[in-house]
């Protein structure tokens, strides 16, 4: 066969093989990935979608640091049982500002895409401190150091600025006020608190997330967990049938 004859000759050229490998290996990615950046319908337009506040972002970074994504997904599939268990299925718009996304691949624990508002702050604090205090048969790790570790806020402006470089619409004002906003979101009676809702919207939760006297990593993580699934109302307005 001429094809095998051609290959017989290709095998004598290492660079030819390398070029062949690059060509054969590029097609799939180009066809499947490139259009996701150009087709408009890929990500729905959610007019009310807001960005993470500095405190929530700091909490998200703690979530990353502790590797929570290894056991919790944040992606409700379009299946009837998942929608009934967790809530409306996840839309692409909801994670459009997530660098990186945290859809996850394993549910050793439940999906938490719509965790926000399901439990009280106190429950989260107790649960994170030692899950077995509130859920006796839980196998989740305990995170007692979160309440003891002060939150690092001084560099949050740089974090917001970096996220703006990769496409998240943070304003100059948000970047400038980031450390103060982080503190103020957990201090509703402070002078700065009004600035948080002014910059991030009326729906932003401004309250004491823990009883700790200073701002700790626990405050940030709870603030993040309480915002999951609440950044936009679009999933509750979208009605598309799910797979039985």
């Amino acid at each position: 066969m001429p094809l095998f004859k051609a290959h017989y000759n290709l095998e004598k050229h290492s660079v030819g093989l390398v070029i062949g490998i690059i060509l054969a290996g590029s097609v799939g990615g180009l066809v499947e990935i490139a259009p996701l950046f150009t087709i408009d319908q890929t990500v729905e337009t959610a007019k009310d979608m807001r960005v993470y506040t500095p405190l929530e972002l700091a909490g998200r970074n703690i979530y990353l640091r502790e590797g929570c994504y290894a056991c919790h997904s944040q992606m409700i599939r379009t299946l009837r049982d998942e929608v009934e268990r967790y809530g409306p299925y996840s839309l692409a718009a909801e994670s459009q500002y997530d660098h990186p996304m945290l859809w996850g691949s394993k549910r050793t624990g439940p999906d938490i895409a719509r965790l926000g508002g399901k439990y009280s702050d106190d429950w989260h604090v107790a649960h994170l401190n030692n899950p077995r205090d509130v859920v006796p048969s839980s196998i989740m790790p305990a995170y007692p150091w979160l309440s003891e570790t002060p939150l690092k806020v001084d560099d949050l402006g740089a974090h917001l600025a970096t996220l703006r470089e990769v496409g998240v619409p943070y304003t100059d004002e948000m970047i400038e006020n980031a450390p103060r906003d982080a503190l103020a979101q957990a201090r509703p009676d402070s002078d700065q608190a009004a600035g948080v809702t002014e910059r991030y919207g009326e729906a932003t939760t401004v309250r004491r997330f823990t009883t700790n006297t200073q701002l700790t990593e626990m405050d940030a993580l709870v603030a993040y967990l309480q915002v999951l699934g609440t950044l936009t109302h679009l999933p509750y307005e979208t009605e598309t049938p799910v797979t039985e």
Binding site: I33, L64, G67, R77, P100, T108, I139, P144
Partner: protein
């Protein structure tokens, strides 16, 4: 190590070591309180240790010209030893993380030892530490033997191995300090990623230069697979790791991609790490060591060609099967599923080619545990590629995704295929490389084989049961039309399976410990054979 280097090469090695030490010092200096400083100190320490080692042996006599007529085996030996160290370490970590799912408080209450931080230590340690070193070491062996030529570089093989291991050490020490991009199987931060690109390009150049020196007109099929492994892993890594650091003085970065695009890029990377790291590279290993050990030629040359290009082309399409029923557009899911099913053809062509090669050598499979390791590897390669294609079908995935079935599938590949073929290759190569007639103890090879097989079967059976039970519990409805089980009930139902999988892991770990001891004793034994050397080049046909 240094005795093989000429004066000029020793100077080059010294320059590289000093540079590494300075880079480490600079990292530590700018990072200050950031955990990246620890990585700076690690590089500084490693660079310093290399400088001291070079200085202490600086005056050794220069090698004779005859060295170019011998194969360059020292880096291979180093790579094999490193792979075994990583294997024992990472599998022990695996047993620990498995135990944490039964006894969640087995962390000593320390932040660094919590599940989410040490789980990537296990995955990176096995995949990149054990698997990566095994691939680099065996590729150095295969490229020289099948080309009948000495490796082209003298210092670059060491640079590749030491540089690669620095990357792995940065990765695992980073996770326990909380440095992670949290992209599965691509967790290391931006500076480690850049460093890996430098190491990897050096590796590719070394490979191509060695092939250029070959005394054979044709490039043997094992090398195609190693080349695909090196080239495609570079493509995947560079795209998926694209990120912007918050500051060049700290570890934290933000991925260039977000949301649905990030998910697709991540699983295009993630599944092809399986394809080109865990499959293509190890098929290179299979195509060399299995025929050599069985003393049979590869069954079919044409099947080799078809399966090679089939794997290289099809695999790159299938990543989206990790995202069925998600917010990823349907057309991409459908493409991923379709190609996943088609992928079974080249996968089974490879597995079949390997098994048919054993025709006429079945008595050796029976008697020789080393060859039996490779036989089991080919069988499990066939089984897990079938399972993979099956799980990629959308309705099957509805049940299997997010459950322990996926974890079981990965381990059927990682333990059954990747580790088994590596042990077969090591047991073939170690006596040859160290000039021994055989392994220190063939009985211990048998022990290792049966421990590994028992561990593997215990593990995958436990997780098949776990995964299917979980998947069914999540979707079971009662007569009133509501969900029957709470999530917590599904967690409680997992306990016996998690205990069984920990035991399976423990068996597999004891197997590799026996193997490491056996290899160590073989190395310590006395040399009984002369080292082989490349034959004089012959004219091409």
């Amino acid at each position: 190590m240094i005795a093989q280097l000429t004066q000029a090469e020793r100077v080059l090695a010294m320059v590289l070591s000093v540079t590494l030490a300075f880079v480490g010092l600079a990292m530590a200096a700018v990072a200050k309180q950031d955990p990246m400083a620890v990585h700076g100190y690690i590089a500084l320490f490693l660079g310093g240790a290399l400088v001291i080692m070079l200085l202490r042996t600086w005056d050794l006599p220069a090698p004779d010209e005859a060295r170019f007529e011998r194969y360059y085996d020292d880096p291979i030996k180093f790579g094999i030893v490193l792979a075994m160290i990583w294997g024992v370490f990472a599998m022990a970590m695996g047993v620990w993380v498995a135990a944490l799912m039964v006894w969640p408080d087995a962390t000593f209450g320390q932040a660094w030892s919590s599940y989410g931080r040490i789980r990537p230590v296990h995955t990176t340690g096995v995949l990149f530490g054990f698997g990566g070193n095994a691939l680099i070491a065996t590729s150095f062996h295969v490229m020289q033997r099948t080309s009948r030529a000495r490796m082209a570089g003298q210092v670059s093989p060491w640079f590749v191995l030491i540089g690669y291991n620095l990357f792995c050490i940065w990765a695992v020490t980073g996770y326990v300090m909380g440095i992670t991009q949290s992209k599965e199987y691509a967790e290391p931060e931006w500076y480690a990623d850049i460093w890996l690109v430098i190491v990897w390009v050096t590796y590719l150049v070394l490979y191509l230069r060695t092939l250029k020196r070959r005394a054979e007109p044709h490039i043997y099929v094992a090398n195609w697979y190693y080349l695909a492994f090196i080239v495609v892993v570079a493509m995947l890594h560079i795209v998926n790791a694209a990120a912007v650091p918050v500051s060049f003085m700290g570890a934290k970065s933000y991925s260039a991609f977000s949301g649905v695009q990030d998910a697709m890029v991540q699983w295009w990377y993630g599944h092809n790490a399986v394809a080109f790291f865990m499959t293509s590279g190890f098929l290179g290993m299979l195509y060399y060591y299995l025929p050599v050990r069985a003393q049979r030629p590869v069954f079919s040359y044409r099947l080799s060609i078809l399966s090679f290009w089939g794997i290289t082309f099809f695999y790159m399409w299938v990543g989206s099967h990790h995202l069925h029923y998600t917010a990823l557009p349907n057309w991409v899911q459908t493409l991923g599923m379709t190609f996943s099913v088609m992928l079974l053809v080249p996968s089974w062509a490879s597995a079949g080619n390997a098994l048919l090669t054993l025709n006429g050598a079945w008595h050796r499979v029976r008697d020789d545990a080393t060859l039996r390791f490779m036989f089991i590897a080919a069988v499990f390669y066939g089984l897990s590629t079938f399972e993979g294609s099956f799980m990629a079908i959308r309705p099957v995935n509805a049940l299997s995704h997010y459950t322990d079935w996926t974890v079981g599938h990965v381990h059927s590949g990682a333990l059954g295929w990747l580790a088994m073929i590596t042990f077969g290759a090591f047991y073939s190569a170690v006596p040859l490389l160290w000039g021994r007639e055989r392994m220190y103890s063939p009985t211990l090879v048998e022990w290792h084989f049966w421990l590994a097989l028992a561990g593997l079967l215990t593990y995958v059976f436990a997780l098949w049961n776990a995964g299917i039970t979980q998947g069914l519990m999540w979707r079971t409805y009662n007569e009133a039309g509501t969900l029957s089980y709470s999530f917590l009930e599904s967690v409680e139902a997992m306990r016996p399976y998690y205990i069984a999988r920990t035991l399976g892991g423990l068996l597999f770990l004891s197997g590799i410990c026996v193997g490491a001891f056996n290899i160590w004793m073989t190395i310590r034994g006395t040399q009984t054979m002369a080292a082989d050397r490349p034959l004089a080049p012959q004219a091409a046909e």
